[in-house]
Subunit: 480 residues, 2 copies
């Protein structure tokens, strides 16, 4: 729905509440009524948290209230974890407490396809709109705003960063946060907004477009409430920062699934593809793709062109990295003579055998030679971007001086990725060795790269595909 | 090169040696000269194993010999782990010992691009050919033949199964075995053959085509030694069993990489694609794709058509699974009325909300309901194949009766996958929970599925893409 005329939306203000009530707070662990309260407590939300449940006196050290009206003073933000049939009473309480925002985790509304449920949703819209209360949901996880100590699950990492996300799906929001942080991405806000009964995709896009902390926007959208306004918002956002969009319900089967998920009426795929492209946003086709692109925009760094220097793993992997990069539109440029010349000193035995991609298996695997060759290529003006399979880190720890060499190489790789002034991506898949030291080395290295904000990918296919799209996107924008 | 006229090749006989010598056997752990000996010992190779090294008296409890000629009696199979400049002497020794097969792990031949190295390779060919000794390599890992207790690395699992693989790359051979076994695939033989100086891709294809234990063939090929003979062998093999082919060096960059890897002169991509297709084989474009297809052919089961029943994970994942299956050419057919009717009893609260894909999040996640709904769909004649995201297994263990329910559900899922008479694939990615019980549950479940020979995939994209190609392949073959 469009905003009320004259009622300018300040989402930042709505998402910076002085107090929060959780209605349907529960003592039952792992229930959402419990987890909303637990998360706010553990995140250290600075204002009062009011659990509401007539059967509880206390929850997690907080006093409980039988209903919203029993809370002393006003409540800015109400989280609803009650069943659908208790929501009208909740709205009345929220009005009495001068709430500005309600988030309905509550589901079983229009997405069920039932007439009575759709009517209840319509009545909620009517009453909240009349009272000037804005609504997130229903049927969603709600707000993850780590800077403001608000989140929706205690296990979610609350790393702050430069990525803002709107996700119609709660489970996708959950995964974007978890997998993103694991790969070095932090978030401004991630908002799971479900059925979009009031606040919708256009509101969140407009907010992220003007939010100074958000440098990259990710969106998972199943249905569009107002096509014209959405496209306007998308175009405006994409003109100031990268917007990566995943559409759920692109296909006939997906549309039917989306309807039962968030009551969304999805659009025709062809219309959608054209519109997103014309708006200057970047469309992806899976959750992995979405996260991969966010990792690139958040952390890869500048790319002036498609010429890629590759540390290609060993043997067949090296050949595969050349094929896949080539197919992804990257230019696997050969070694320039001056680079070849300088390799004589670094790897006197194999310098004449080295090319781009660098074949790790012809270097002394487990020693830092591969690093030095990679540094030489990365420093050459013949290359615009760098892609490195850093699996050889795991071989180091098997040697006597392994731990020292491992730590030194890790440090130098981080420095290469962040300071060479070229987009750099690392590939580091799970260890396939039964050796516990090697498996641990991969976990340690991944964690260190994520902490340093290095763009990290689980396999060469995903890295190359992402790097190809990233370089093309930057080239197209630069040419404008 | 073509076979010598009249010298019919019996690869089975060559790969069933009565004795094996490892020349260049080493006391240095993690060196290949050590690992070949260690692997044969640990695998329990039944015949004599002769380590050859003039500086050692004994290795791993075996008597060492200063050279091949010092070994008492004949040696059927010689593994060469000596440097290139010691190989001519090794061939002389092998001739003296009436060896039938030499595998050269030794590298630095024609793949270096150096004239002297290429000449040495040519001389090796001349001498072995004259003596009637067949050669695998040089520049490769060699033979993994678990039934005959032969392999090339002690950490490789030696599970026996129905898949035969030829791989020009040793690292790819290594990964195909490791990742394959992790996903329920066992092998007849995996042969890493490097520069293909004598025995080449056509010889191995011809062998696997007629090998009764091999039901599925996988191939990683960088260069073709004899195009006509290869296509003849490929067509013959593909007419009797599925052949999945990954070509390294499909692109300009890849071709150059392949030349430095295994001295291969790769062909033009378009010619290659057409030839493979015409031969009736299935081409893939990455190592992950190759393994994914081998998993399907080895373990998925029969597929009579494209109508897929999906357990789609939770919320957004469910929508994504519908979109991705649809885009992969599968038919996400709606629930037939009689299935819908029977769901009333299983899930009385949500039966009217359930569709295909099944949305796990609207069932009581962590209880066996999702299994019962899946069983109902899988049993319906409205579906030809089944794709199930079984992540909800991990939620079970967090409950009080979790371990029991988990084990029961695991058993029923295995039974569903193997006994329902329809191609069935499960998706089970890494746990994203910090909860150690949940992470362990995923590991336990994956292991149990692999042991039971269930076709297992790490994410919905790879599963759907594979299932789509698998169904299409079977349909095309069925229509012949």
């Amino acid at each position: 729905m469009d905003q009320e005329p004259g009622a300018a939306l300040d989402l930042e203000e709505l998402l910076t509440p002085a107090s929060i009530a959780v209605v349907g707070a529960s003592a039952k662990k792992e229930s959402q009524g419990h987890e909303y309260v637990q998360t706010l407590v553990e995140a250290g939300f600075p204002g009062p948290i009011y659990p509401v449940n007539p059967k509880l006196d206390e929850l997690l050290g907080l006093k409980c209230y039988p209903d919203l009206k029993a809370i002393p003073g006003d409540v800015d933000f109400v989280i609803s974890a009650v069943p659908a049939d208790a929501t009208l009473e909740l709205v009345d309480g929220a009005i009495a407490k001068k709430a500005k925002l309600i988030h309905f985790f509550t589901a079983r509304f229009s997405e069920t396809g039932r007439e009575d449920a759709a009517q209840l949703e319509a009545e909620l819209i009517r009453r909240t709109r009349e009272a000037g209360i804005r609504v997130i949901g229903p049927n969603c996880m709600g707000v993850h705003y780590p800077k403001n100590k608000i989140s929706f699950d205690p296990v979610l990492p609350r790393n702050i960063g430069n990525v803002g996300v709107l996700s119609q799906s709660g489970s996708h929001a959950f995964r974007i946060i978890g997998r993103g942080v694991e790969r070095g991405v932090g978030f401004t806000k991630v908002i799971s907004y479900g059925n979009a009964m009031d606040l919708n995709e256009a509101d969140f896009l407009e907010h992220f477009a003007q939010d100074p902390d958000t440098e990259v926007i990710g969106a998972y959208i199943e249905g569009i409430r107002d096509g014209r306004r959405f496209l306007r918002a998308l175009r405006a956002a994409a003109s100031v920062k990268p917007v990566v969009v995943l559409k759920g319900g692109r296909t006939t089967a997906g549309r039917s699934a989306a309807a039962s998920h968030t009551a969304s009426l999805a659009s025709q795929a062809a219309v959608w593809h054209a519109a997103v492209r014309q708006a200057g946003a970047l469309e992806v086709s899976s959750l992995n793709d979405l996260i991969d692109m966010l990792v690139a925009f958040a952390n890869a760094g500048p790319a002036a062109g498609p010429r890629v220097a590759i540390l290609g793993g060993a043997g067949g992997e090296m050949v595969e990295s050349a094929d896949i990069c080539n197919e992804a539109g990257l230019d696997v440029a050969p070694l320039p003579p001056e680079v070849r010349e300088s390799l004589k000193e670094i790897v006197p035995k194999t310098w004449d055998w080295i090319s781009n991609p660098i074949d790790g298996s012809i270097l002394e695997w487990g020693r830092p030679q591969a690093l030095h060759v990679l540094q030489t290529l990365a420093a050459s003006p013949a290359y615009d971007v760098v892609l490195a399979n850093v699996r050889w880190l795991e071989f180091m720890v098997a040697r006597d001086d392994g731990e020292t060499v491992f730590q030194e190489t890790l440090g130098q790789l981080k420095s290469l990725a962040k300071n060479n002034g070229k987009a750099t991506m690392f590939v580091l898949g799970d260890s396939e060795s039964p050796d516990e030291r090697r498996r641990r080395a991969v976990v340690v290295a991944r964690h260190a790269f994520a902490e340093a904000g290095v763009a990290l990918y689980p396999d060469i296919e995903r890295a190359a595909r992402t790097l190809g799209r990233y370089v093309r996107y930057l080239e197209e924008r630069g040419a404008e």
